[in-house]
């Protein structure tokens, strides 16, 4: 290393990804969307735990679950795993 080279303290430590991906909506990926039947929901939380996107959220203050379609990719895991079949995957009727 020549004396002109930068020392390790002068070199940028690493590349940095500065923004939270919460600002990147993946919801436009989906073809089918989950539709819930609140009557059938027992708030067992299985859909909340199994959604790979983390877009089904438990709202304790309202005592119900909410699906944030702006991140939902339409995989259908929530519908497949719901023990009471409270979720069905449907084609949106028109543009969301």
């Amino acid at each position: 290393m020549s004396s002109k080279d930068k020392g390790w303290k002068e070199i940028a430590p690493a590349g940095v990804t500065p923004k939270s991906s919460v600002g990147f909506m993946t919801g436009d990926w989906k073809t089918y969307m989950p539709v819930r039947d609140l009557e059938k929901c027992t708030t067992c939380m299985m859909c909340v735990l199994y959604c790979p996107e983390g877009c089904i959220r438990w709202r304790p203050e309202m005592g119900k679950i909410e699906i944030d379609l702006s991140f939902c990719k339409g995989c259908g895991i929530c519908a497949n795993e719901c023990p009471t079949k409270a979720i069905t995957m449907k084609l949106p009727e028109k543009e969301e």
């Binding site: 990804t17 993946t26 497949n80």
Partner: protein, 322 residues
């Protein structure tokens, strides 16, 4: 060791815990590893640093300028997630020695099966031998998925991948899966376990135990990849259950060399009639479709034979320690 946060994981408690692996990541719809990581991060107990090797979960969570990590996170080269964890652990120790850090910080290293079974194995072996304090999470989607579904040492026999295509030359991959957990047990480490998100409580308890160990711990997490497995995205969690019920992926813990079956697998050992045939798990996955052609029946038979043999060996190990 004292835990910072009480860990009676109930479904509601987990649901209420904020995500540390955030929405907006670019994993495919129905990605098993993405679900696994999101859940695993719910079992953390306090300040945590994550380091991750190249692979799907690293790529989808760090697409510039976005990050899906709500904790300090370091990307590292494909082969070095455990080496990186060693460096972080060493840095934390020095900071503590110098009195610049008081609280305990957990270190989690994450890698796929390519980054663990194959290319990351020597770094992992070295880090464990040196006794660094970290939890290594292997998310096993049974292939090099991020670069186009190539076979890895974790790909099971018979699976079609782009480097083991099923056809007239071969019926998918010819070799069985490498016994990675046993290889880690042979390192005489304190904690090795297998887990899968369908059995979420079991998995989260194992993550927490792995973090509590003062030294290296290893968690083998089975996580389906609908893209690489040519399976329905809605069925990723279902395949996790079928893999356990058919004993293709048994759940167990190895504490200081002592094997114990975890409840879902223990129940199958107590009621062997509940053990499902491997075909229940294999069917429906496009990567195994060719095996259902009568000319490849011998491969199905071999997968069943090998699964039974591995299961019997595991039962013996667990019994000896009962």
């Amino acid at each position: 060791m004292a835990t910072t946060q009480e860990w009676k994981f109930t479904a509601k408690e987990i649901a209420e815990k904020p995500d540390l692996f955030l929405p907006g990541h670019r994993a495919c719809a129905g990605c098993g590893p993405a679900n696994a990581l999101r859940m695993i991060m719910k079992a953390t107990r306090g300040p945590t640093i994550v380091t991750e090797a190249t692979g799907c979960m690293e790529v989808v969570s760090s697409i510039y300028p976005y990050t899906s990590w709500a904790v300090p996170w370091l990307h590292t080269a494909f082969e070095t997630s455990a080496a990186n964890a060693s460096g972080i652990d060493a840095a934390l120790r020095i900071l503590k020695q110098k009195g610049k850090l008081q609280e305990h910080v957990d270190v989690i290293a994450i890698a796929g099966d390519g980054g663990t079974f194959d290319i990351g194995l020597q770094a992992l072996s070295g880090a464990v031998e040196r006794g660094h304090d970290f939890l290594f999470v292997l998310y096993d989607n049974e292939g090099y998925m991020n670069t186009g579904i190539q076979r890895s040492g974790g790909t099971p026999m018979g699976a079609a991948t782009t480097t083991t295509p099923a056809g007239s030359v071969m019926p998918g991959k010819l070799q069985h899966k490498k016994p990675i957990a046993d290889i880690m047990v042979a390192h005489n480490m304190e904690y090795v376990a297998s887990a899968t998100p369908y059995y979420w409580k079991d998995m989260l308890q194992k993550v927490r135990k792995g973090l509590e160990v003062e030294g290296p711990a290893f968690l083998h997490v089975f996580a389906p990849c609908p893209r690489g497995w040519r399976s329905e995205s809605a069925k990723s969690i279902e395949y996790e259950k079928l893999a356990v019920e058919s004993c293709v992926f048994p759940l167990y813990e190895v504490v200081n060399g002592q094997y114990t079956l975890s409840t879902p697998s223990k129940l199958i050992s107590l009621a062997p009639q509940k053990k499902r045939p491997v075909t229940d798990y294999l069917k429906g996955q496009g990567r195994y479709r060719h095996l259902f052609n009568p000319k490849n029946k011998y491969v199905l038979d071999e997968i069943q034979r090998w699964t039974d043999e591995r299961w019997t060996i595991l039962l013996k190990k667990a019994e000896q320690n009962a």
